[in-house]
Symmetry: C2
């Protein structure tokens, strides 16, 4: 089939590479408001051609929306109005409530499938696109009861071919859980980077000393604000809630350290060790 | 030469494996207050034999102290009193001021070399010991002016054979910088794990959703309290200082989100992106 990818960056580009490789897409049309991204995506053989959204929509079976969630809110009403019969629109945005509210009750609502691949890296743009970004990762499909059966089947079939696991949730659950397992991790990384950059003037010393542990907790701080500010904006309520709890936990640790209550600190670390059961 | 490793866990065990492999040690004696650790280290061929500290010290050219820093403070005075001529004592502890204060002015001070390999994993015990844990990592050597030339040379030669880079610092600098690049990362991971464990009753959902980003920021929360509580205790002043700053940064982000000042939030993320210059 012919697939249009709107947004030829990390997620859209990686998807394009894999859809072609797995034989899902015979032809891939790229749409991007940055001409240099389209040019680069063609050079990297990620897409076959660049086109305008209007033109691309006339010629594709599946349109994947892989742009930051604020831009998605802008363009989605236009796209929903232009859907042709049999065509499927799918987004891969990191928040879901606002997006699904926007399309609720639209006459073409059934053609839309809301998806969120739980995969990414801290890099962005077509050059960040990689093979197998999604392999063995989870694809969340949201509020699928409102999608037409054939539209859902097309997406589920694609998810299978990407070798991903599928998890079904409603939009509200999705936004709550991703605040915990994704959004807060980014906030702590940004804050940790700011802390270290502020305190450590001699960055040479950081470079010399930084080991795997530091790199692992801070690497998400390389992530693009273009992608992340809209996510925090969309999921503000949940993110604030979990951020509050996280600050409380840090303050509790601080108090134990101030009061030199090392027995309680020991127990707290033991409790946090229970994350072993969740992480592989 | 004959090397004694006091503490046959992650660090001591990994060092033993590599010292043998690189031909630095002809024989490795393990000392551990847990007999089951010694037994396991022999089974895993990490050490050649287990012995008492007293016996091991009579027979070894180099004694490496790889036990938690609180236990180290207990045993170090005994060891320093028993050093034989030509013998070298080296620690690999994560904090340095208290340790070097303790040996300051000791008649055998010159035989002691204070070292800290900037390498580790979130696992512990002999089974966590791995080859190449130290390869291409940094070894910090502290206050080397107080070590005898031949003792320092023995350690420097060993560090070379481990294919590590050497960085020289005084104890005060060491404890300050490691608070930023190592200790705070562990605190944020512990707090993040506690946050998620508290908020997410349905841990199945975390398991389904948790992707690389979450795992990377939380994996340090698997670390042992036996190792980390003593580190936080020893480096309490610096850790409190950086923790304060980190909480401030998180509170600033929280305020921006509460006030919906997304422009300022965007700029803050851009600023944190500068960590790219420091991380590879």
């Amino acid at each position: 089939m012919i697939v249009t990818i709107l947004g030829t960056g990390l997620i859209g580009g990686s998807l394009a590479i894999t859809l072609r490789e797995k034989g899902v897409a015979e032809r891939i049309i790229g749409v991007d408001n940055k001409p240099e991204n389209l040019q680069r995506a063609i050079e990297l053989n990620i897409i076959d051609e660049g086109a305008s959204l209007e033109d691309a929509m006339l010629r594709s079976d599946l349109v994947v929306l892989a742009i930051p969630v604020d831009a998605l809110l802008q363009v989605l009403p236009v796209i929903m109005d232009k859907v042709r019969p049999g065509q499927v629109i799918m987004d891969v945005g990191s928040t879901k409530e606002k997006i699904l509210d926007l399309v609720a009750g639209h006459p073409n609502r059934g053609r839309f499938v809301a998806a969120h691949p739980m995969a990414g890296t801290e890099y962005s743009g077509p050059d960040a696109a990689i093979r197998n970004l999604f392999t063995h990762k989870t694809m969340v499909l949201c509020d699928v009861k409102n999608s037409d059966d054939d539209a859902l089947e097309m997406v589920e079939d694609m998810v299978d071919k990407l070798q991903m696991r599928t998890v079904y949730m409603n939009a509200e659950e999705h936004d709550l859980h991703t605040a915990y397992v994704s959004h807060i991790s980014h906030i702590t990384s940004f804050a940790l980077a700011l802390t270290v950059l502020k305190k450590e003037k001699e960055s040479g010393r950081i470079f010399e000393l930084a080991s795997g542990g530091f790199e692992s907790t801070v690497r998400l701080a390389k992530s693009s604000p273009d992608m992340w500010v809209p996510i925090f904006k969309h999921n503000r309520h949940n993110v604030l809630d979990v951020l509050d709890e996280h600050i409380n936990q840090l303050q509790q640790i601080k108090t134990l350290l101030e009061e030199e209550d090392y027995d309680a600190f020991y127990k707290l670390i033991q409790k946090s060790n229970k994350i072993r059961k969740i992480l592989k």
